[in-house]
Subunit: 334 residues, 2 copies
DNA sequence: TTGCACAATGGCAACGTTAACATTTGGGCG
DNA sequence: CGCCCAAATGTTAACGTTGCCATTGTGCAA
């Protein structure tokens, strides 16, 4: 019971088992060229000493960390938990680990995410972008560090992946038009949100593609309160029979706002949202919305890095479509 | 433009700058015993070659990884995002990184979390427990691997930290009694949830402490639907003037259930929840609830590991109280 | 002028692992 | 009985970093 040894190495195991360090290493990797009885003796020694392989020694030797870094400017955010679920699942599949880092958003640049990661034990990195980084156009990933951006924008040097925000608006608008609505009103979001802007574009362009001039939009701020106000404002408008809100909180707020003005949903006005973030919080209503597969987004990003595993794979851009979920907040006018 | 060198080491920088490897190392660590002009020359060489320190070499030398592992049986879960925010913040503060791992819950044991972590480059680990692991009583943390459990249970060998679920029920019950309600009805949750059970105990014991025999509880399943059903059931009971639901979704469901039976909230019945998870989703109502500081829970856990930094600190148990947030769903009967 | 202190830098070794190569052992076969 | 092959095991070196100690250079007091 003298001084506790810092850590047990192959050398210690080798000594106890009466074999060479190499044989211990081979046993750890279950090499077929070690006699079963020798293996057993080594294993016994490992158990006795409580040996566990040292990651640093291993990666130093291998030159790989088997780890993917994830850089986030904001940890809290819709869908981040599902994305992480995807990161973890894909990493698991490839025998990789995930290292999570919060990056200070001042300045909001890819460079700051990249330099934050550069000193960490990672083979590649994923950056979750919420806004437009100042250096998006000029950014170059660190040499040897495969970098994947979670964004809808395309980048010449980094692979990108995200939900297809444009397509989701197309789905909603066409769904509403398909139900006989003459136009679709829109509740937007703050202008610095990339995905929100893309949703807005999708709404606008889909209407135009159907020969409809988009009505004036109501600007919201993601909160149910702003949706509530928007609902009250739109309640006055007799041409408004269908409203598409750029997230579920605003959609639900909008419903309550409409109802507070005596307009019924969906009898008088139909409402749809995006994100499927309400879950089952609203017990008496099922909001028509679009469900995204954020887990798949996360998996794609990590697969891209861990799957390549040396063989440098090219830059790819992936948009994953959402699925429209029919609820009971849309009326069929046909 | 010949073969690209795998990675740039101090040796390369030293050669280019015409100094020894040691001087490069000292420059990296900004040692005062290097002449400023030498430092500048070395820095220039580092820039030119794109040098970044190799984590593996460093940790091998130091015997530390400056990383805390987080093991989760379920990534998705109320408050996990806030906890991660806390992990990341505390890690940042100490210059640590966070490695995230999903642990397969079959079997649901601390041992499986521990062995999952053992081969990763971490100095300590945090396990987020949702249920009772089969080996909770017998588990021993890996030697040299400081282990913190996120749970309300106390463990003899591991530090623990969590929200104080008992106290939160006490706060709610005493708040309602203080408003003149004669008793408090309760909507519970599935029995395997540790925190849910603790909330139930808190409700029961606080009532008893006030000389009130707890009424029969209504069992829910965390969903708003179950809260809705519970609300309808409790609407029949004339003695029921105050309801405490063990989460916000059920509380909100309950409100809608009561209203569907013609009972008004808070005029006829008061309702309170826990978790403050509705955010602003409900635009026309502010639910009385308890807000937990999950970020602080996360920070405490990582602080415990990263803060010790060698000096082995003892086992501690921390319960962090929530804060009751007054909304407009409780009526004062006095 | 000599000696000494101190600042600046260099050399060496070791952290734990494993690929590549070297060596030993045993068995089969001519 | 000797030879060769293959299986089993051992030896060496290197991955990149940095603590320790040694060395060199520079200025100043004796």
């Amino acid at each position: 019971m003298a001084a506790v040894k810092k850590s047990v190495s192959v050398k210690d195991v080798a000594r106890l088992a009466g074999v060479s360090e190499q044989t211990v290493s081979r046993t750890v990797h279950d090499s077929p060229s070690v006699r079963p009885e020798t293996k057993e003796r080594v294993r016994a020694a490992m158990r006795e000493l409580g040996y566990r392989p040292n990651f640093a020694g291993r990666s130093l030797r291998r030159g790989k960390f088997k780890t993917v870094g994830v850089a986030m400017f904001n940890i809290t955010g819709t869908g981040n938990l599902d994305r992480m679920e995807g990161f973890a699942a894909a990493a698991d599949k490839h025998g990789y680990a995930i290292t999570l880092t919060k990056v200070d958003g001042h300045p909001y640049t890819l460079e700051s995410a990249s330099s934050r990661m550069s000193a960490l034990p990672v083979d590649g990195m994923v950056v979750i972008m919420n806004r437009m980084p100042a250096d998006f156009g000029t950014f170059e990933p660190l040499p040897g560090m495969q970098t994947v951006l979670v964004t809808m924008l395309e980048h010449p040097l980094c692979s990108t992946v995200d939900n297809d925000q444009f397509d989701c608006s197309r789905q909603v608008v066409e769904y509403l038009l398909g139900r006989g609505h003459k136009t679709v009103h829109f509740i937007s979001c703050p202008e610095r949100s990339l995905s929100g802007m893309r949703r807005e574009e999708g709404w606008r362009e889909t209407l135009r593609a159907h020969g409809i001039e988009p009505p004036r939009l109501v600007r919201g701020d993601w909160t149910a309160q702003s949706g509530y106000a928007a609902g009250q404002a739109l309640a006055e408008d007799p041409t408004c029979t269908a409203i598409y809100a750029s997230n579920d909180a605003m959609a639900y707020g909008c419903i309550r706002g409409l109802e507070s003005c005596g307009r019924r949903v969906p009898e008088d006005v139909s409402v749809a949202g995006v994100d499927d973030s309400l879950g089952d919080i609203v017990p008496d209503r099922r909001l028509t919305t679009v469900r995204f597969d954020n887990k798949r987004v996360g998996m794609w990003a990590v697969d891209k890095i861990a799957g390549a595993d040396g063989g440098a794979s090219g830059v790819e851009h992936m948009l994953i479509p959402g699925v429209l979920v029919e609820g009971d907040t849309v009326r069929d006018l046909r």
